[in-house]
């Protein structure tokens, strides 16, 4: 099975108030060092896989530059990374090659550079088309910036565009949310990701939500129920517009689902490079092997060791449930049985029945999937497939 490659670029022009991800604002001098480290890691991938006990497929069919803001790197730096990747892996012609971009970073030279790298998909961190909402969480773009970016990408021939929106930003209202959705639909992008605001407790906004305050607009964050309404409105509007939900937060026109993200949910192998990048490979006996890079730039550049997470047989079944159920198509019980055996799977049958009774899961022939209510409460569902002491 071909690999997916993930390259983490933890640089941003500003840090969003809700974010606690490893990304941050760094000086440009660090960028060069970082790209060099990434390239070295790519070159050592075979060795790494061997150490971790995973099989490394040479063939690659998806590459994903995520962040942070990968387009903060110079075009030359991006090209260097891509050249190194292509030297070390066989990137198939039909590969999906995505770069996450912050609106406003896509000048014509940047877009041309991306094309030289073979990038054929762009994910725009829009979050909102309302300027006040964007500004309140520290994003620098305006609505017009996004519209211009999309036009420029299209005229350069990159039409596989994703737009991220967040429901629950400070100052957001039902109406402003509708307006953002309208704008997204009007732009006719083939893919959208809709997130509900998740605030890390130790992000700036998170701390303010706990302690109270107005600096990061915590005071203006819509309440839980309104956020839930917004998400439901989004599902309905996007489905009607032909951008159908295929995962809890992902929507696409037929055939435009993200190949790369699907690998995460369906437990296909992927390899991550850079700060806090995660990898999953298969061992010779087919078991999943997970490992991850240090979660700070400092440690990463200092060459700290990767952390390996053993996936026990029990954890593997649990992951198959709580990852697979994220997809609207659900999971195929028969497939699960053949992979993990009768005993491992039937252990969860009681939970499945209870969740079905509660209206959170739906059994349909040999498939189980979340209901729309189940999607809203997916953590309550997934929790049932986790045993607290099984974590190794």
């Amino acid at each position: 099975m071909p690999l997916g490659l993930y390259i983490s670029v933890p640089f941003c022009r500003t840090k969003c108030s809700y974010c606690n991800f490893a990304s941050d604002v760094f000086s440009r001098a660090v960028f060069e060092k970082y790209v060099t480290a990434i390239c070295a890691e790519v070159e050592q991938a075979g060795e790494t896989a061997g150490q971790m006990g995973g099989l490394l497929e040479h063939k690659v069919d998806s590459i994903y530059f995520g962040g942070g803001t990968p387009t903060l790197l110079d075009v030359a730096q991006l090209e260097r990374a891509f050249v190194t990747i292509r030297q070390n892996f066989a990137v198939t012609a039909a590969s999906e090659i995505t770069v996450e971009c912050a609106p406003g970073t896509l000048s014509v030279p940047v877009i041309e550079g991306l094309q030289r790298c073979g990038v054929n998909r762009v994910s725009l961190g829009v979050q909102s088309f309302n300027d006040q909402e964007s500004a309140s969480v520290g994003r620098l773009h305006k609505r017009s910036t996004i519209i211009d970016d999309v036009a420029r990408l299209r005229s350069a021939g990159i039409s596989n565009i994703n737009i991220d929106l967040i429901a629950g930003l400070p100052h957001q209202t039902r109406d402003s949310w509708q307006a953002s959705l309208n704008q997204l639909i009007t732009l006719e992008v083939p893919h959208a990701s809709i997130y509900m605001l998740e605030v890390d407790d130790d992000s700036r906004l998170g701390r303010e939500l706990i302690a109270g305050g107005q600096k990061f607009h915590a005071h203006f964050v819509p309440d839980e129920d309104l956020i839930a309404d917004m998400y439901e409105i989004a599902c309905e509007r996007l489905n009607t517009a032909g951008i159908e939900q295929y995962e809890i937060s992902n929507f696409a026109r037929a055939g435009c689902e993200s190949k790369h993200n699907l690998k995460y949910w369906t437990q296909q192998p992927y390899l991550g490079f850079g700060v806090d990048a995660h990898s999953m490979l298969r061992s010779r006996d087919g078991r999943a092997v997970r490992f991850s890079n240090p979660d700070s730039l400092e440690k990463y550049l200092a060459g700290s060791a990767k952390e390996r997470t053993r996936v026990s047989a029990e954890s593997a079944v649990q992951e198959a449930f709580f990852l697979g159920l994220r997809l609207n198509r659900g999971i195929d019980i028969q497939k699960l049985l053949s992979e993990f055996g009768q005993n491992a799977v039937s252990y969860y049958m009681e939970s499945i029945c209870e969740l079905e009774t509660a209206g959170l899961l739906k059994k349909d022939g040999g498939t189980i999937r979340l209901t729309s209510r189940g999607r809203m409460l997916s953590n309550e569902v997934f929790e049932r497939f986790i045993s607290v002491d099984s974590a190794v």
Partner: protein
């Protein structure tokens, strides 16, 4: 020593007025302790006592003092517990003395605690020596303090001793005054033995150690003794005195104070106030004043972690070894599982036990709302006592309910009287007296239902008086009240651990406050959860916890599955710590909230 050279005395003082410091000075001056041995404040030995600045168990220390007349005197300092919950123990310790030092802080004046204990001492016929302490402080006001001693306690303060226990100024005069002003003990060492048991504790090596004051006769090593009220017989294995180091001696004669070891296994056999007599030649009657003290405040104790139930039992057993005044029996709650119904002498006693369980035994506890013991006369004439809401009879079976009432004495400054009066009225108090003891110091006496005190009275009193009010109380009987059992139902299921007994007139308010607090504390569940307060079948308040709408993790940070797993584990772990009632997960804080919801809020 002949009894003419013995003086038995206690020290009466409010917390922080300098009792322990003075005791240390006395020990130092009489050479009982060298400076090096003197860890600060030796009398308060338990950590908790030291932290709270109060003495929980009484002690007795013998000192040798050479008076200004050149004679050597035996001074026995009998330390008394300083808190209202232990007033019976105080009364027994005072009964062992002929006199007492009344210490008053020169800048603080007389407090309710001092007052109550002073009255107790006066009633026991003790000679009281007023001692005004902390005269070295700039804020000291000796004249006003004397005025208060005369006004509030009714003692002549003209010859009060002026000292600073801290600097030692005036302390030698205290020793001399003890000898000159306190009477030597009476009692004939040749009469049949009568000794007052005024304290006891469990020692893991020697068994129970008993402190006694011999009133008549002589107690000897090897003697067979009998505890009058308990009717148990023991052999005296050892006798001794605390100097404060224990020193064994052969006999304790009439007038003397000391300890006794008699292979006693159970501290419950040594009831405070009991009279010890000679088994072979028993006295005809016991010493007066014995009471079988009963717990007044009751609460359920449960461990947060159900697996720790056995440890809780063991811890309670151990504590009870040293504290026979506290009582427990197993109880079980639908909501909290297996636990213990515990009875305490008062709120402070409850807090101390709770804290010791948590600190010394590392237990995490949930305590149900403290309550009192009601006397219920049923319609069929049967009389029962109920201290546990879960045993409350059906209202149709109740003819009459009598609740315990206390007489509270509150001393405060004039400016806080208004707030305090409003508080005691709200708490169903009945005024017994209102008196200016000095021009701006007021003494209030109120009869109050104990039930109203156990909830939040201390805190409320403290806040309305900004800390400038002192309280003392003692049980003063019962009065009839229309009490009702208030139940809390979560999703239709009564949560037994949240039931409380309240006065009918307060039930509505309390019910409303409780359900609204519960609504804040119970997390949203997968379904709508009604929270109701009811009296019998009648719902008096309702709130709703709406069904949870969303609980989603969307973002996938570059395939980081372990982060997702950790969050799910944390969520599941959090639920495990909650108590499940029916289908609803209730967090621990909800049970604690009952304790914090007062009517006045």
């Amino acid at each position: 020593m002949d009894s003419q050279h013995i003086r038995n005395f206690a020290i009466i003082a409010h917390i922080d007025h300098g009792k322990s410091t003075l005791a240390d000075r006395l020990l130092e001056l009489t050479g009982s302790l060298t400076a090096r041995e003197m860890q600060a404040q030796v009398l308060d030995s338990m950590d908790l006592e030291r932290e709270r600045g109060i003495t929980i168990k009484a002690h007795a220390v013998r000192m040798a003092y050479i008076g200004r007349d050149g004679e050597t005197y035996q001074l026995n300092l009998i330390d008394t517990p300083g808190h209202v919950d232990f007033s019976y123990e105080v009364s027994r310790s005072l009964a062992a003395c002929e006199g007492a030092l009344l210490i008053v802080d020169a800048s603080q004046g007389v407090e309710a605690q001092t007052l109550a204990n002073s009255y107790l001492a006066i009633n026991h016929g003790l000679e009281i020596i007023p001692v005004i302490n902390k005269i070295d402080l700039p804020s000291a006001d000796v004249a006003r303090t004397k005025e208060m001693i005369e006004g509030a306690v009714g003692l002549d303060a003209s010859d009060a001793l002026l000292i600073s226990a801290k600097t030692g100024e005036g302390v030698p005069d205290v020793l001399e005054a003890i000898v000159k002003r306190i009477h030597p003990p009476k009692g004939d060492p040749d009469q049949p033995l009568r000794a007052l048991l005024f304290d006891s504790w469990f020692d893991p090596y020697r068994g129970v150690i008993v402190l006694v004051r011999v009133f008549e006769g002589t107690m000897r090593k090897g003697q067979k003794i009998r505890f009058w009220w308990n009717n148990r017989v023991f052999d005296v294995e050892a006798l001794g005195v605390l100097t404060p180091k224990p020193v064994e001696i052969g006999e304790l004669r009439a007038g003397e104070v000391g300890f006794l070891i008699a292979n006693i296994k159970n501290v419950a056999d040594t009831k405070i106030g009991d009279t010890i007599v000679d088994d072979a030649n028993p006295a005809i009657e016991p010493l007066p004043g014995f009471e079988d003290i009963k717990p007044m405040v009751f609460a359920g104790l449960y461990t947060v972690d159900a697996h720790e139930h056995t440890q809780l039992r063991e811890a309670l057993d151990k504590l009870r070894l040293n504290d026979s005044s506290f009582f427990f029996e197993p109880e079980s709650s639908v909501a909290l599982g297996f636990g213990f119904r515990c009875g305490f002498l008062g709120l402070l006693h409850m807090e101390i036990i709770q804290e010791r369980l948590e600190r010394e035994f590392n237990l995490e506890l949930i305590t149900t709302a403290p309550g009192v013991r009601y006397q219920i006369t049923k319609t069929d004439g049967e009389k029962i006592e109920v201290d546990n809401p879960s045993r409350w009879p059906d209202p149709s079976e109740i003819n009459k309910i009598d609740e315990p009432v206390i007489l509270a004495t509150i001393l405060t400054n004039e400016e806080y009287v208004g707030g305090i009066l409003a508080l005691v009225e709200e708490k169903r108090g009945k005024q017994k007296s209102f008196e200016y003891v000095t021009s701006n110091r007021v003494m209030l006496q109120y009869e109050l239902p104990l039930n109203e005190i156990v909830l939040d009275f201390y805190d409320r009193l403290k806040s309305v008086s900004r800390g400038y009010a002192s309280l003392d109380y003692h049980l003063a009987g019962h009065w009839e009240s229309p009490m009702v059992k208030l139940d809390i139902l979560v999703a239709g299921e009564p949560v037994d651990a949240l039931s409380i007994i309240v006065h009918r007139d307060f039930a509505y308010e309390r019910g409303k406050a409780l359900v609204s607090k519960m609504r804040e504390l119970i997390p949203r569940q997968m379904f709508e959860v009604p929270i109701q307060a009811s009296i019998g079948a009648k719902i008096i308040a309702r709130e709703t916890v709406h069904a949870i709408r969303k609980n989603v993790l969307a973002k996938c940070y570059g395939g980081d599955i372990s982060r997702k797993r950790k969050l799910l584990e944390k969520q599941k772990e959090g639920k495990k710590r909650m108590k499940r009632i029916g289908r609803v997960d209730i967090p621990q804080e909800a049970f604690l909230a009952v304790l914090k919801v007062g009517e006045g809020q």
